[in-house]
């Protein structure tokens, strides 16, 4: 409190001091018969020189920033399209920096050169069609070049991914990312948000997940049955607000369960397999070098944006919509670490669309592995299928391929049992 008072006091005293200074200035103006609206020669010249000085210092500052920080934080791109974009970015930067220096330079120079000189009249020069045509046509040509180059890259980057490309899903929610690998069939299973349960966080669509979602919604801890029981229990005393809340909750769930039953009736069990073999991966995203990926993005709650700075890749994730972006990482994490001399370096997937308080913490480490290492990692993951996790089957990450195939056979049996 004491410091605040002192600060306040200083501010008040400062204001009084300024007021006094102003009064002195006012009086001296009156004595000298100086008129505020008539700018003296001296003031003109000082400002003209400051124009030049500022222009020079500004340019020096800009050059310093370019040299010192221009490319330092960006780093090398780790995808072929990223390098193409960097090339394009540099071309554009050269063009715009040239324009920037030219026009700003002229501005500050004219500001210096053409300051009022007593006795010299300004040139009456209202227009010149040739000049105006010149600076319409030249920018148009430069822009045409920029547009053509830009659209060429844009079209190739946003085109459809190769049929062979690895399908991968990135699922976003407040405030983390989850990856889903498509499994051996390279086909991502279908999903529907209504199927979300604790055991099925990504809401994948299979016969069993529908059943389980219906079960949870009907008989789970805060399912329809329990809500109805509570609302009908006369002995239970509730605040009106709570009751109202419970009632809306119930009507919401009744509506959702009807949709789930419809889903069940329409469901084609043949599609289950595509979802069962999907592999869900949290915390770290492992990618294989030199493989094209088609990233499919989903969101559970609000809009997020999948931003891979080093891959020069970014796409929003939108609830109710699947968005896509393709890229081919071709520099492994290890290579990049060596190149940067930073053993702690990691690629990262950031969230780049405001999504709530912890927006800034929403990230996933991305590791690009060489082909051999990736194969090893991937094989070790083979048992971590959605099916295994859904049914709670034991998942051992370090199994020999032989053991893995045994377990797969067992899983196949369970699958047929489930179907019956």
């Amino acid at each position: 409190m004491g410091t605040k008072l002192i600060i306040l006091l200083v501010i008040v005293l400062g204001a009084i001091a300024i007021a006094q200074l102003a009064r002195v200035y006012e009086l001296s103006n009156k004595l000298l018969d100086r008129k505020e609206h008539e700018i003296s020669n001296r003031d003109n010249i000082i400002n003209a020189r400051l124009m030049l000085l500022f222009g020079i210092l500004f340019f020096v500052g800009v050059i310093y920033l370019f040299v010192h920080y221009g490319w330092a934080g960006r780093g090398d791109a780790a995808t072929p399209h990223g390098r193409e974009l960097d090339w394009l970015m540099n071309i554009n930067l050269i063009i715009i920096t040239a324009i920037f220096f030219l026009t700003n330079g002229l501005l500050f120079y004219f500001g210096y050169k053409h300051v009022k000189k007593p006795g010299v009249k300004a040139l009456y020069y209202p227009h010149n069609n040739k000049l105006e045509l010149l600076w319409t046509v030249v920018p148009a040509i430069v822009l045409a070049v920029i547009i053509i180059l830009g659209l060429r890259s844009w079209n190739s980057i946003t085109g459809d991914a190769d049929k062979e490309a690895i399908r991968l899903e990135l699922f976003s929610k407040q405030f983390d990312w989850t990856a889903r690998y498509a499994g051996l069939d390279n086909q991502l299973g279908n999903f529907d948000y209504k199927l979300t349960t604790d055991k099925n966080e990504l809401a994948l669509l299979t016969t069993n997940t529908i059943d389980s979602a219906i079960f949870v919604m009907q008989s789970g801890p805060s399912g329809i049955d329990s809500l109805e029981a509570k609302l009908n229990n006369r002995k239970l005393v509730m605040v009106p607000e709570d009751r109202e809340k419970m009632e809306t909750d119930l009507s919401r769930k009744t509506r959702l369960i009807r949709l789930l039953h419809q889903m069940k009736a329409r469901h084609n069990a043949k599609l289950d397999a595509a979802a069962w073999d999907d592999i869900i991966q949290k915390d770290t995203l492992y990618l294989c070098t030199n493989k094209e990926y088609e990233m499919n993005f989903r969101s559970k709650d609000v809009i997020h944006s999948a931003h891979f700075p080093y891959f020069r890749a970014q796409m929003n994730t939108v609830p109710g919509l699947t968005t896509r972006f393709k890229f081919t990482p071709d520099v492994t994490t290890k290579q990049m670490r060596d190149r940067m001399g930073d053993p702690k370096f990691n690629y990262v997937l950031l969230c780049n669309k405001i999504c709530g308080g912890s927006h800034y913490k929403m990230k996933m480490i991305v590791v690009v592995l060489g082909e051999k290492e990736y194969k090893k990692w991937y094989e070790a993951k083979q048992l971590a299928t959605f099916k295994n996790s859904f049914f709670g089957a034991p998942v051992t990450e370090t199994v020999t391929p032989a053991a893995a195939s045994d377990t797969l056979a067992v899983m196949a049996d369970t699958l047929t049992l489930v179907k019956k």
């Binding site: 400002n47 400051l50 920080y69 930067l93 300004a122 600076w135 529907d192 993005f297 080093y310 370096f345």
Partner: protein, 607 residues
């Protein structure tokens, strides 16, 4: 027909006013509060805008402190935010987003739309056209009071228990639609939407009035091609506002319905805070289309008045006609038209069809052509001029500089392919703060210094004005130039704490953290510089030296009115216009300016 009838009516009306003038005494309320006089309304807009501008600047300093020294306790923060939002002097994550959101909203809408256009359209349209007042003084008054009401509601939202809106100034749903997603999307967001809806009403009333006045109440001889560029700028701005703000209103109303009435315009398949919503079939992208259909023209609603003011000021203080008067009008019209077909360049990576993206790349980059024309015309106007450095002139030149600097980085962002890497990074923040923030604020300062004698009959202090300008441009560039490099490093905007980079990328971490400190220091210097302005402004209102009728030797009509404000502007007949407004240093004339009211001499050629 209608126009003619209205014109006649207007003249009749204004004469009636004039005759009245001596007789009726105005009381305090009708003169200073519920005034229908355009000059008073203009001052009301300016005062409100200055207050809001300083508030928004304070908010920005609060979050800049957090960005430069994340996690460090600050007395400054705890002083303003208290224990609720800055426990122990450390800003809360949610409030960080709240500060960012309200800073953006106030700056864009309340300072640069309401403040800039509201102040100067109101002041200059009747004065420079030779009209007694706006077409409808009553609607004009309503326009201000709706504006005032909306500012009050926006201010109230800062004090709501769950915090102000926190979804960024663009308030994209679903974040803004779901109170479970962030605390500010509760009452704070409802108030934000209500405030903006009222703001839009104010803006529409104002704009319609400006358009009608410009079309109908020009004095004798004032053809459209004899209007000062300021009026052209205000006119085009008003047209843009009328065409685009209703779309924002619809976007806001649909969002309100999603929030309060359970509709699904923007919502589909959402689980938030453990609650599975039944909304299905809506599209968050629809909101973005609606928002940016206003949002992009909005950029020019902010910028065009500033460019108009600076055209006038640069010409006057270079003692030269503005170069390429018709090209200037043409390029403003072109910018205005193009601004309606570029909105989706804000949405290249939302999942919108890439082909659609290419179309918007094309239209967006086209805007660079009229913008370039304007810049070169400004440069040619300065060339071989006889520049008088009033503070207004300094700010006008500063505007040209920031317009260039911010304009060229727009070329990068408009290029969809390049946008992938810098979209939503600090690069974008840097870009629009330079091109829209600094330019428009410079334009506004230029306008205040230049037309202060017209508003208050006094002149502001030059020395303080000079210091204000130099500190402002140095700190303005000091804040926003380094920010481009933060963005090129890939740093996302609206991050509460960039030190998270330390976990995975030392190089980027160093660049971002270094620059963030520099940026914050310049921001603090810059805001102190604004205190100089504040002092100068209020001091000069009461004690500044009295201004003569035409302090800057201008040619336009506002300098033919008496210094003391009178109802109806001109004591006698309305002036008649004989020439364009830029006859500075015309050969064959003894003085270096010929007012618009001077008849053409025999044998004198038009420009």
């Amino acid at each position: 027909m209608g126009a003619v009838a209205h014109d006649a009516h207007g003249h009749h009306d204004s004469h009636a006013h004039h005759d009245d003038h001596g007789h009726h005494e105005e009381n305090f309320v009708s003169k200073y509060i519920f005034s229908q006089d355009h000059k008073m309304i203009s001052k009301q807009f300016l005062m409100t805008a200055i207050f809001m501008g300083f508030l928004a600047m304070l908010l920005s300093i609060l979050f800049r402190i957090q960005l430069a020294w994340p996690g460090e306790s600050s007395n400054f923060l705890s002083f303003f935010l208290g224990e609720t939002w800055a426990p122990g002097g450390i800003l809360k994550e949610d409030m960080y987003l709240g500060l960012v959101t309200i800073h953006g909203t106030i700056m864009v809408f309340f300072l640069l739309t309401g403040g800039l256009s509201g102040t100067f359209s109101n002041l200059l349209i009747p004065l420079q056209l030779g009209a007694r007042d706006m077409a409808s003084g009553f609607l004009n008054m309503l326009s201000y009071w709706f504006f005032f009401l909306s500012t009050i509601i926006m201010l109230v939202s800062l004090f709501v228990e769950s915090g102000p809106a926190m979804a960024g100034w663009t308030v994209y749903p679903p974040l803004s639609a779901l109170p479970q997603a962030v605390s500010g999307s509760g009452t704070g967001m409802t108030l934000w939407l209500v405030s903006m809806s009222i703001f839009i009403v104010s803006s529409l009333l104002g704009s319609l009035n400006y358009i009608v006045t410009v079309l109908n109440l020009r004095t004798k001889g004032m053809s459209m091609t004899k209007m000062p560029l300021t009026i052209w700028a205000f006119f085009i701005t008003a047209v843009l506002g009328v065409l685009s703000f209703p779309v924002l209103l619809s976007a806001a109303l649909l969002l309100l319905m999603d929030r309060l009435a359970g509709t699904s315009f923007y919502l589909s398949d959402i689980i938030v805070g453990g609650e599975m919503l039944t909304n299905h079939g809506g599209s968050p992208i629809l909101y973005q289309h609606l928002f940016w259909f206003l949002g992009h023209p909005e950029v020019y609603i902010v910028l065009l008045p500033a460019l108009g003011l600076s055209s006038e000021i640069i010409s006057t203080n270079s003692r030269k006609p503005i170069f390429g008067y018709r090209a200037m009008i043409g390029s403003m019209l072109a910018i205005g038209f193009l601004s309606f077909i570029v909105w989706a360049h804000h949405m290249f990576i939302t999942g919108m069809n890439p082909f659609l993206g290419s179309v918007f790349v094309f239209t967006t980059l086209l805007i660079a052509i009229p913008s370039a024309v304007k810049v070169f015309n400004y440069l040619t106007t300065l060339w071989k001029g006889s520049i008088v450095y009033t503070p207004a002139m300094l700010f006008a030149i500063g505007l040209v500089s920031t317009f260039i600097t911010g304009g060229v980085t727009g070329i990068i962002l408009a290029d969809a392919a390049l946008d992938i890497a810098v979209h939503d990074t600090m690069f974008v923040v840097a870009h629009f703060h330079v091109v829209m923030g600094l330019s428009a604020v410079f334009g506004m300062f230029a306008g205040v210094y230049h037309w202060f004698p017209k508003m208050y009959g006094r002149v502001m202090n030059n020395r303080l004005g000079y210091i204000h300008f130099w500190l402002t441009i140095i700190s303005g560039y000091g804040v926003f130039f380094p920010m481009h490099f933060v963005g090129i490093s890939g740093a996302p905007r609206r991050y509460y704490d960039y030190s998270v980079y330390g976990e995975f990328d030392t190089d980027a971490f160093n660049v971002i953290m270094d620059l963030n400190v520099i940026i914050t220091i310049f921001a603090i210097i810059g805001s102190f510089a604004q205190l100089l302005f504040l002092f100068n402004f209020f001091y000069s209102i009461f004690r500044g030296p009295k201004a003569p009728q035409n302090p800057w030797n201008g040619t336009t009509l506002e300098w033919t009115t008496p210094v003391e404000h009178i109802h109806g502007n001109w004591p006698g007949e309305l002036p008649t216009v004989h020439r364009w407004p830029y006859d500075y240093s015309k050969p064959g004339s003894d003085v270096d300016f010929i007012p618009q009211t001077t008849p053409m001499a025999e044998g004198e050629e038009e420009h």
